[in-house]
Symmetry: C2
Subunit: 581 residues, 2 copies
């Protein structure tokens, strides 16, 4: 392996050589801030994923370290994130009950499979597969997931039972258990939620009015969730609310991340394979858009295939250290970036901070009410819910609107896996439908020029016996027969026709189906006494055509430009053979 | 409903008004010839489909009549065909044993579902769906089906058991029963097969040498299969070979097609739905290519959506009259056309001829050996086997070669349904892969001209601070992020960059994902102090962009031509803002 290949696959070799004191200071400051922010987030997303709270902290340690070694983004912070945690709960919830050892093993296995898939895609350079999630599908999916997540956490705020992975299940579950509502939990949960909403909007201006500088006010506002956790934990401890029905986190082991093994049971793997694939792709897409946005600000370059390897390694790390599937999160990465992280080493220091927390802080969260964590989640995910995508898609194109609507509705009604799959399938079908009926314009010459434009939109000159068609699409199997039908139709409608010219300005590709359709068109026109010509054929398309017999059999000519075709066919009229009919 | 709408949906109204004596004569002559040809073909394809022999004749009567009313092709002959019969055997064979009442009911139900699907596709104008079967996939599928069919009939020629729906099953079945071989059957079967091969190649020249005119010799050669049937039936009858182990057709009811009802059992329907969909689409594709080839010779027009309705009605007819799935067949249609059929009425007269045969001729085929029918099938389908598609695809494009190879291998190994599905999926994936990594050329000006060409292929002039990229594909979700990556890469590599121009000559479409990628590119370049421009944007794409905020946010300009862009950016250098980094 050459040095540059090594650097490509181990980006750490590149930045570690130039690491200096200034980068170190920036990284440590960023790490302290991110660590404080990550503790409540990690606990909350563990709850969302149906895992014990410490798993959230474990899932933030090894993955951060491994991403720092293999990843290319300098600001991305990897760990549990909302949507992937929801997908984990949906996938693992089908297999085992939350809180059991089987559940934890399935979550480890899911992280392992997801890591293996990401590594495989990265090594095979298949990162482009993520592109099949279109922007509207992702936006619709994130919005619908945000609603599902917020709805699924309501039960913790109300202090009742009622699980579910679709909106209908969740609402039905809440309704069925509404009688068991715990008013103290509601009071705690609702006030925490209200406080956190205020933190988001009003705390920074408030701190500024108290006289803090902008940077300190900003940092202060970020500690809001920590404040909420400390305050509600103290309240529960002081008034012994745990004994009065408020669900608390309870005993959390005081330890570094344990060494764990994913299961290799083939039945478990076959059940988790599709969810793992979806989690990998969704996680990758979320992560890479964050990474690219942050990298562009500093003109750094993100290598998508290497990112797959970084995220794959991170998930492998989660699988072997008591975690669950992870990816690069938006909020934590932005904090990392804003806090001045210079290199992936910042992530390593964050990992160190979290390891200290796992060792020494866990006894302190015994009395932390689950309602507080649920409130943290609700406030975080509601910022993901954004229905403006519906309006934008509607205005821009109906087909994009169809894809985003299908994604949102199916995610809410049938859950995350059906929703995102339906979104991808809808996008592909809509695209195939559009390209299967390409725009084909009859064109004529704009008088006094060499330009040829659509006869329906412009005043142009045409000859009665020559039909010139401009096909606005590459020719391939979904539209090959459409072209045959269209040309048969035009030819049947014009008995005086002697020549058809196909103008190939926008034809970037011809496949074998299209070639055979062109051959059929050529033969059928010949049988009807009409010649077929091509004009403005691009180099690569011409190369392709020359590998077949089509050009030998073509009854007409290939003209370099449409102008030449028109001149030639106008003067050639007399020499033209009679129709055979 | 207006008159023209009526004529569109009932094409019979159009041709029946102009029906005259000359058309009548032509039609009757064609009908007699086609009837004679259809009797052995119908019996043989019933055997292939696992149905009793009379079902083949029934399946040729009502469908022909209904197609005559609803179809648009004037020469298409509808009835049992080889590939669809094979697919029927594969689908129904999974549900019941051949020869049982359940088997016949399942076949009726399959025809009913297939008819319903075709009608629905036709009424919803969804005929374009058939285009997703690319030419190489169809060619590969037909070739592999031909091999499967021939192999499946070998057991009748050898006089042994051994069913199967994949090549491996068939070969294993033959091998296991090889001990039971019946030598008289082999003698009959092999000599009939040899005779029929000779009929195909040598009979017409032979009849010409005997002094017959070309038309009579042609007709005489077409009666070859009838001759084989008469001769072998007489031999079996005369020497009582039925008692010596030669499998014969046996008692065939002497009746008009019975009135039958498909089953509406939901479990049966759910088992048959996917096979019915595949049969519908394969049948439609086969039928429409025959219809279009024949129609083009007379400059007649085929309406694909109306063809779906015609074939749907034909299959409905088969379902209610003791038949099984049908479609427009190549060999019978060509005979119909060559024999001079003028209108769909020829089909109606053929139906009458077959009804007479069903009433009066069935006792005569009691002693007809199954080996003769198998020989008829083998000779017919081996003409479908054509491996030259592999070579043509290989030469023309590797991706088409991948699709055709996958189709052939998977059809042979896993059967018809897996094979054709895999072919479609492979074609779509290959297309998506290709468009997901479009050709993006860095272009520069060809000295002394207004032309801009690829810097790698031509000697061109460029400016160090301006990067001009030509994207050779519509911009949509699979390639949206690729474009982002490419531009980020180019920008990261050129620190002196101040302007990026995207040349949109071959961009026919922009979807919301691509728009958001363009917005991201614009923002990221802006953050890096680089302006983004567009040039040569087509009208429809410009319309689309104007429905968004993109043009307001664009840091640069939209130039009518690349030439204008280059001139403007060259003179504008001094006025350019400083990079922000």
């Amino acid at each position: 392996m050459t040095r540059s290949a090594l650097t490509r696959n181990l980006p750490i070799l590149e930045w570690a050589r130039r690491y200096d004191r200034s980068a170190f200071t920036g990284d440590v400051v960023a790490a302290v801030i991110v660590t404080i922010m990550l503790i409540p987030q990690s606990l909350a997303y563990a709850l969302l994923a149906g895992m014990p709270p410490e798993a959230g902290i474990y899932a933030s340690i090894a993955p951060i370290l491994l991403y720092a070694i293999f990843g290319t983004s300098r600001a991305l912070a990897v760990g549990p994130v909302a949507v992937v945690s929801l997908m984990t709960a949906a996938a693992v919830g089908n297999i085992a009950n939350s809180g059991t050892a089987d559940y934890a093993t399935a979550a480890l296995t899911l992280a392992f499979l997801s890591g293996a898939i990401l590594l495989a895609l990265g090594l095979l350079r298949l990162g482009f597969l993520a592109n099949f999630l279109s922007h509207p599908v992702i936006a619709g999916f994130i919005t619908a997931s945000g609603i599902l997540i917020a709805a699924s956490q309501l039960r913790h705020v109300l202090g009742i039972q009622g699980e579910g992975h679709t909106l209908i299940e969740i609402v039905a579950g809440l309704w069925a258990h509404l009688g068991q509502i715990n008013l103290i939990t509601v009071a705690l949960g609702v006030s925490t939620t209200a406080f956190l909403f205020w933190v988001r909007k009003g705390m920074k201006p408030f701190l500024r009015r108290l006289g803090l500088g902008p940077r300190m006010a900003d940092l202060g506002a970020k500690t809001g969730p920590v404040l909420a956790i400390v305050a509600t934990t103290l309240v529960v401890w002081a008034f012994e609310l745990g004994a009065r029905g408020v669900a608390i986190v309870g005993d959390v082991p005081q330890s570094l991340p344990p060494l764990t093994m994913p299961s290799l049971s083939s039945s478990l793997i076959s059940q988790l394979l599709v969810p793992a694939l979806l989690i990998s792709i969704i996680g990758f897409v979320e992560s890479i858009s964050v990474a690219q946005t942050l990298a562009a600000k500093k003109r750094q370059r993100i290598n998508p295939d290497q990112e797959l390897i970084g995220l794959g390694a991170a998930n492998m790390g989660a699988a072997f250290t008591g975690g669950f599937p992870v990816t690069g999160g938006f909020s934590r990465s932005v904090v990392n970036y804003d806090a001045g992280a210079e290199t992936p080493a910042a992530g390593a220091y964050t990992a160190g901070g979290l390891a200290l927390a796992a060792l020494f802080l866990t006894p302190l969260i015994h009395y932390l009410p689950k309602a507080t964590l649920a409130a943290t989640i609700i406030v975080a995910v509601l910022s993901l819910v954004d229905f403006t995508i519906l309006k934008r898609a509607w205005v821009f194109s109906r087909t994009d609107f169809a894809a985003v609507t299908a994604t949102i509705l199916l995610t809410l009604v049938f859950g995350v896996e059906v929703g995102v799959t339906a979104g991808v399938v809808t996008s592909i079908l809509v695209h195939l439908y559009k390209t299967s009926r390409p725009h084909i314009a009859v064109v004529g010459r704009v008088p006094g020029t060499e330009h040829f434009r659509n006869v329906l939109r412009h005043e142009v000159e045409t000859q009665p016996n020559v039909l010139t068609l401009r096909v606005d699409e590459s020719l391939y199997f979904p539209n090959a027969r459409y072209l045959e039908d269209q040309i048969s139709g035009f030819a049947a409608d014009k008995p005086e026709l002697t020549d058809v010219v196909l103008m190939f300005t926008a034809v970037n590709e011809i496949d074998l189906s299209a070639l055979e359709s062109l051959e059929a068109i050529n033969t059928r026109l010949r049988d009807a006494g009409v010649r077929l010509h091509l004009s403005e054929v691009k180099g690569p398309v011409m190369d392709r055509l020359q590998r077949s017999h089509f050009l030998d059999d073509l009854t007409g000519e290939v003209f370099l430009s449409q102008h030449k075709a028109a001149c030639n066919l106008a003067t050639n009229d007399m020499a033209h053979p009679q129709p055979l009919t």
